[in-house]
Symmetry: C2
Subunit: 420 residues, 2 copies
């Protein structure tokens, strides 16, 4: 036990929560869009990583960055049957404060809580910050965990580029991670005995399940994917080109936006969104030569999601043809439906008195779930708003989350929980 840890113990958890939260408040503010712009390996991300390393140091935890740029802090020596908790530090562009960082802050505070309780782990405990979970910079969500579990070809991942043309390889290099090493990490994966991710709830399913519950347990994640639709037409002058001479890709692009809405209205439970759309060149007095439309679709299992996408693209292609435009589609990502470990989920739900609820949001936990026993804890979100500056959870609910996470970890770290 280090003096630092003693100092931690002398503060009540709510004070410590406020302190950690205040540390993060100023990092990576998005002046243009409000909220935060924290993206994989950018300046804000590197600053957050430094903060995490310092917090781990104060708790006497050794830190390391894995071959995929994920950041780990260890209580006890790395070894088999490790219990792992954590989340991510990056945000969507203009995102809220809680999505990601709440799971990291809670992991640090859960360590304090376990030490306060005098828990002596029978297996190592690791805290993890996964890299570029939102895909806000390189387009592919859960980049770090996806590489770790081998769900993406490392060459394809290294070649992904951000809006400024910087590749994942270059960004990793700059962050001091050798991109040549990126890829599946089976040894690390095999050492994980269980993974628990605490996260702010996104949406309104927890409230629907139990309006009084401050926390919930995640049961499953719907299948979800991203498609980039490129509509190409003929760039031209906005003032001198008669309607009959136009091949304006903005027309089928707008058609695709509305087709997505029409199609999901016919499929209860499905969602489809165009939140990003970019006309090229993007001049007011210029008919665009092409428009990129990013389509996010989530529904049931992978086959259900794909069927919806086909329906939307069928309509979009018809509109492109009418306008004399070309339409190409690139699937940026596809993550199948995931069910979290049923025994662990049921046990946690019963022990914590927290309803089990599914989610439409992707998480690093979803990438790990097919490989290791995985569970998620959700902290109540009064408005259901997420991926926006208004995203919010009450501090009391966050502290309930910390205690629930500590309870969960205490159970998993007990000698009787360790498989022989």
């Amino acid at each position: 036990m280090t003096p630092h840890t003693d100092r931690m113990r002398s503060h009540p958890p709510d004070g410590r929560f406020g302190g950690l939260w205040a540390d993060l408040a100023g990092i990576g503010r998005d002046a243009l869009r409000g909220g935060y712009a924290r993206h994989g390996f950018d300046d804000a991300d590197l600053q957050l990583r430094e903060w995490f390393v310092e917090q781990a140091r104060r708790r006497g935890l050794d830190t390391e960055t894995d071959r995929n740029g994920n950041l780990w802090a260890w209580w006890g020596s790395p070894g088999p049957n490790a219990v792992v908790t954590g989340s991510h530090l990056d945000s969507v562009p203009g995102g809220g404060a809680f999505d990601g960082p709440l799971g990291v802050v809670s992991a640090l505070l859960a360590v304090d809580e376990l030490r306060l309780r005098g828990v002596r782990p029978a297996v190592p405990l690791a805290l993890v910050c996964f890299a570029e979970e939102e895909g806000g910079r390189f387009g592919l969500p859960c980049l770090g965990s996806r590489l770790l579990v081998g769900a993406i070809d490392p060459d394809a991942a290294r070649r992904l580029r951000d809006g400024d043309g910087i590749s994942v390889a270059d960004a990793m290099q700059r962050a001091g991670v050798d991109p040549a090493g990126a890829g599946p990490d089976p040894q690390r994966l095999a050492g994980i005995g269980a993974f628990v991710e605490l996260h702010i709830e996104q949406g309104r399913l927890l409230r629907a399940a139990d309006p009084t519950a401050a926390i919930g347990v995640g049961s499953s994640i719907v299948a979800h994917g991203r498609w980039r639709i490129t509509v190409s037409g003929q760039g031209n002058h906005a003032g001198t080109t008669a309607p009959r001479d136009r091949h304006d890709p903005m027309i089928p692009a707008a058609g695709a936006v509305l087709a997505a809405r029409r199609v999901i209205q016919a499929h209860p439970g499905a969602v489809a969104t165009v939140g990003r759309l970019q006309p090229i060149p993007g001049g007011t007095n210029v008919i665009a030569s092409s428009v990129d439309v990013w389509l996010d679709v989530r529904h049931g299992a992978a086959a259900d999601t794909s069927a919806l996408v086909d329906e939307i693209l069928h309509e979009a292609r018809a509109e492109a043809e009418l306008e004399g435009c070309d339409l190409r589609v690139h699937r940026e990502s596809m993550t199948d439906q995931v069910t979290f470990d049923p025994a662990l989920t049921m046990d946690l739900s019963a022990r914590l008195g927290a309803p089990a609820v599914p989610t439409g949001a992707g998480h690093d936990a979803g990438l790990l779930a097919p490989h290791v026993p995985t569970a998620m804890l959700f902290v109540r979100n009064p408005s259901g708003v997420s991926h926006a500056p208004d995203e919010y959870a009450e501090t009391q609910d966050c502290l309930t989350g910390v205690r629930a996470l500590a309870d969960t970890l205490e159970g998993l770290l007990a000698p009787e929980a360790v498989p022989r």
Copy 2:
């Protein structure tokens, strides 16, 4: 007569055209979108201005920058009844090579041609490069000529900002132009006896009027304006927000794009375009919190254009209300219909054997026309494509344009043309 001018004379005009054209070819390439990105007071623009000053110097012409950042070169001392020709050096984002620079290059070559003919101007001749004609940087087209003629409040102009938040005032300062001096320049305007702008044709009206004509004469410019429509909704998570809980501004934004197309199809001769559209924050897995849609509308006189805009906005507002979104509209510019000097236009058309055709494109000539006798020459554009990298004119047609411009200027510079 300077030695430089002698050297100019020793080269045939087509060779000189190729040389000047080659000077410009490498400046301000748009690597992202193809074509050129040359915007008011940016690095490319400053480089083009240096090139123009050097070309003027080689011809023994004195240059000056006026209080609004427009660049002038004088054959003879500045004085009353000046004949002025020129155009602009800036482009739309990803624009073609000809829109603007062709008028400047032709003005320089017309000076050479007049000297070759031994013309001795009875009044001063000025070449002008107007600043930020396209409004590609600060949103307002014809910024330099608009300020000169007093068609915009100088304070409002100084406050305009580009995409990086840099104001017109800051950009002018950086370019060495005191922004405090920006505004109406009645003395300069009163000194202009006639203005002639040569420009590549945009669209297909010249070909429709006479398929064999290499040049045309501009008769009028349709009314045109720009409106920024801001649709505000509720930013949220793309995966967890049920369709019934969404206030997605992208839906009415797409509706506005399609409404613009529907409305102009009911009004022959009208055009309306959305070439620029920006969702905020613009994340793939994020329902946008707001979307900016720029609408360019052109039809008949100002009242006709405004009526069309009202019709489009009526439909867009209805769609915003359906989605529970707010819609606000900001008129960025409005330029009324302009008819070029009828006597000058008819005379040129007859003298040059060039059909008189209207245009849907805005020009600095349109801003000057209400104040001074103004004419336009159009050079044939085989495909009609403009504001795009494919924009093109044959060199032979450009040289025909230079000769026609020289003929026009020679007539205007003759002692009998000068009003007493």
